[in-house]
């Protein structure tokens, strides 16, 4: 096992709202192995995006870190000053987002947005930056790079915008790429292309990737490891092949079996009953217990800890015995 490049330790977060404090993450811990892709899978409100934003302290002003550390190269990023963080953002840890169209500034040219990233972190002449920017566009598969540098985001399709975002993120050879639902807003064919591109570039540059998605099938395409979040808690963390071959947590099992398939026609889809808890809803015991078919009284009383099992961890009493 290689030394992890990033460690999230015991991270708890909440939002301070008019109606009181709403916890969104509970004691989340994981480590990102060097040169691997970790997929964080969860539904809306599971805290998957919030945990990613907290790594770079890009959270909304009303977010509050209750406990925990994010350790990168021996430093706790959560305790860093804004200036130190700025040197990490974009250069060591880069990020791409869900909606590529709105994630680019509509009134600045693509060239301007690319070169300013370069120049923010490296002493570089405008010309050199421009040359490098054109190179980057070519690298992510955009033709006529020179010409496209002078264009604006609205002249690009969604898939092309995401390529630009990726080029921008890769500009400074970061150690880590955080991709927050990078293909959710795209069509399937474009999604396949972007996934391939991310994987390819990850392999070339030896980057580590945190890939956030709600779609298990997409996670299966890219991930080396998968972390399943539910109601702000880690439910299951396992190497991807193990998790997809034999999911241990009832939630993961339910999610996987409820997926409709293109390759065969199901008469009925197995379902997870009920709905995810709403943010701020007080849950006693395991947050999944109300929807779980195998829940026992114990599950409703105290939340199970994470049970470690070889290379995987599961938050479920069913795994306690083994």
């Amino acid at each position: 096992m290689t030394e992890p490049i990033l460690r999230v330790e015991n991270l708890s977060l909440s939002f301070v709202t008019e109606n009181g404090t709403v916890p969104v993450l509970h004691h989340l811990s994981y480590s990102l192995p060097k040169g691997k892709i970790l997929a964080v899978v969860g539904e809306s409100g599971s805290g998957k995006t919030v945990q990613a934003l907290s790594i770079l302290k890009l959270l909304a002003p009303n977010a509050r870190v209750d406990s925990g550390k994010v350790i990168y190269r021996g430093k706790n990023l959560l305790a860093c000053k804004e200036n130190t963080l700025r040197n990490v953002r974009g250069s060591k840890i880069a990020m791409i987002f869900q909606d590529p169209g709105s994630s680019l500034n509509p009134v600045l040219t693509i060239g301007e947005q690319l070169t300013e990233t370069l120049r923010a972190h490296r002493k570089m002449s405008q010309e050199a930056a421009r040359k490098k920017a054109a190179q980057l566009l070519t690298q992510v598969g955009i033709t006529e790079a020179e010409k496209r540098l002078t264009e604006y985001p609205f002249q690009f399709s969604g898939g092309m915008c995401q390529r630009v975002m990726i080029a921008m993120a890769l500009a400074l050879d970061p150690d880590i790429l955080i991709a927050d639902e990078p293909t959710t807003a795209l069509d399937v064919t474009i999604q396949a292309q972007i996934l391939t591109l991310i994987k390819e570039l990850q392999r070339q540059n030896g980057m580590s990737v945190i890939f956030i998605t709600h779609n298990l099938a997409v996670a299966a395409q890219v991930a080396d490891e998968v972390l399943v979040l539910y109601a702000g808690q880690c439910m299951e963390l396992a190497p991807a092949p193990d998790l997809f071959a034999k999911p241990l947590h009832p939630y993961t099992q339910g999610l996987l079996s409820s997926l409709a398939s293109v390759t065969h026609k199901a008469q009925r889809l197995p379902v997870i009953a009920g709905t995810p808890p709403r943010p701020g809803e007080i849950v006693k015991g395991c947050p999944f217990a109300p929807r779980c078919t195998q829940a026992t009284t114990k599950c409703f009383e105290t939340c199970p800890p994470l049970f470690a099992q070889k290379s995987r961890q599961v938050r479920c009493y069913l795994q306690e015995a083994q």
């Binding site: 770079l56 890009l58 804004e82 963080l85 700025r86 040197n87 990490v88 953002r89 974009g90 250069s91 880069a94 990020m95 987002f97 909606d99 709105s102 994630s103 680019l104 500034n105 509509p106 009134v107 600045l108 040219t109 300013e116 990233t117 923010a120 972190h121 604006y152 609205f154 002249q155 975002m165 921008m168």
Partner: protein, 341 residues
């Protein structure tokens, strides 16, 4: 884009015709005798009214009279203004530069401070900067222009004797009407500098300060609000998060990224406000006895100087359309989505 501008220029005559015809139509409510009496200077000629009516065709159908007025306008003849004691065209030419000068100085104040306060207010939301900016903005909205004007007059003129209302000093008048003073632009602020007359420049500027301050307050309050809400909206957008994630400095994130988008609605507003100022200096010019077209318009209205009123509204209508066009062009200069579509 050019087609767009052309299309807007086609609109210009429509608006001008509409406004002037409406006013023309309203003046028809006065009896021909009353209107004729405006042409008569000497009370002894009052018995010759019928002849004046006939001579000027004041009993003709309103369209015919309007057509005649238009024909004269086309020849550059806007009629004679008894209130200003000179032809209307000459009066407008003489008074307009002073008003443009006033509106321009005001607009510089409004845009500069409005954008600054509005942006600071949004960036430091709910901090003291925001509270101060919002208080000033609310104050600016609720303070009537004539109250503020009179207050400023009382303090700076009555108590402190810093600035003076009324016409320029006698020395200034002598210099600018003297043989050595060349008129380059018609704007005294610029011409005095070009002539190297520092004292004239100082005098003109000191006459501008109080009216400009009074005039700017309403637009300033609006500008702060628009800039603040526009900036707040932009700051919450995805691309701002991207800019932060790229490791840009706070200054770059706020001013280069959010600012450039936030300023777009401000530009339109500034254009409209500028025009509003040009036609809306009436109260301020009257309070400070400032020699601009607003004061000319008021005097014309008070003395029922129909030619003067028509000329004034004719000019304001043209300015209105031209100003809107100008702000639209500025708008496209900032927003590539419109420029390139």
């Amino acid at each position: 884009m050019t087609r767009y501008i052309l299309r807007r220029l086609c609109l210009l005559p429509l608006v001008v015709l509409g406004v002037t015809f409406l006013l023309f139509f309203l003046t028809q409510r006065l009896s021909p005798e009353m209107r004729a009496s405006l042409y008569v200077k000497d009370p002894r000629q009052m018995n010759a009214l019928e002849e004046v009516i006939r001579q000027y065709g004041l009993r003709d159908n309103v369209f015919k009279q309007y057509g005649r007025w238009l024909k004269n306008v086309a020849h550059g003849d806007l009629g004679y203004s008894p209130s200003a004691n000179m032809p209307v065209a000459q009066a407008l030419k003489q008074y307009l530069p002073a008003t443009i000068q006033l509106a321009f100085v005001t607009m510089i104040l409004v845009v500069f401070f409005g954008v600054w306060f509005g942006a600071a207010s949004a960036v430091h939301k709910d901090k003291w900067q925001d509270i101060v900016a919002r208080l000033i903005s609310v104050g600016g909205f609720s303070l009537p222009i004539f109250v503020l004007g009179l207050l400023l007059l009382m303090v700076f003129y009555g108590q402190l004797h810093w600035f003076s209302p009324g016409g320029y000093s006698i020395q200034t008048d002598i210099i600018i009407h003297g043989a050595g003073f060349k008129t380059y632009t018609g704007f005294l602020l610029i011409d005095s500098l070009l002539n190297g007359q520092w004292r004239v420049f100082g005098d003109v500027l000191s006459h501008l300060v109080l009216p400009a301050m009074t005039l700017c307050i309403g637009s300033f309050a609006l500008m702060v609000r628009v800039m603040r809400s526009s900036m707040l909206e932009e700051l919450s957008k995805d691309y701002v998060r991207t800019a932060r994630a790229k490791g840009l400095s706070k200054y770059q994130v706020v001013y280069k990224h959010a600012g450039k988008n936030a300023i777009i609605p401000v530009i339109t507003l500034a254009g409209i406000q500028f025009i509003r100022l040009l036609g809306g200096t009436v109260i301020v010019e009257t309070i400070f006895d400032y020699p601009g077209i607003g004061r000319f318009g008021v005097l014309a209205a008070q003395q029922l100087d129909i030619a003067g009123i028509l000329g004034f509204s004719f000019l304001v209508a043209i300015l209105f359309v031209a100003g809107n066009l100008l702000s639209d062009i500025l708008y496209t200069a900032v927003d590539p989505r419109i420029r390139l579509e």
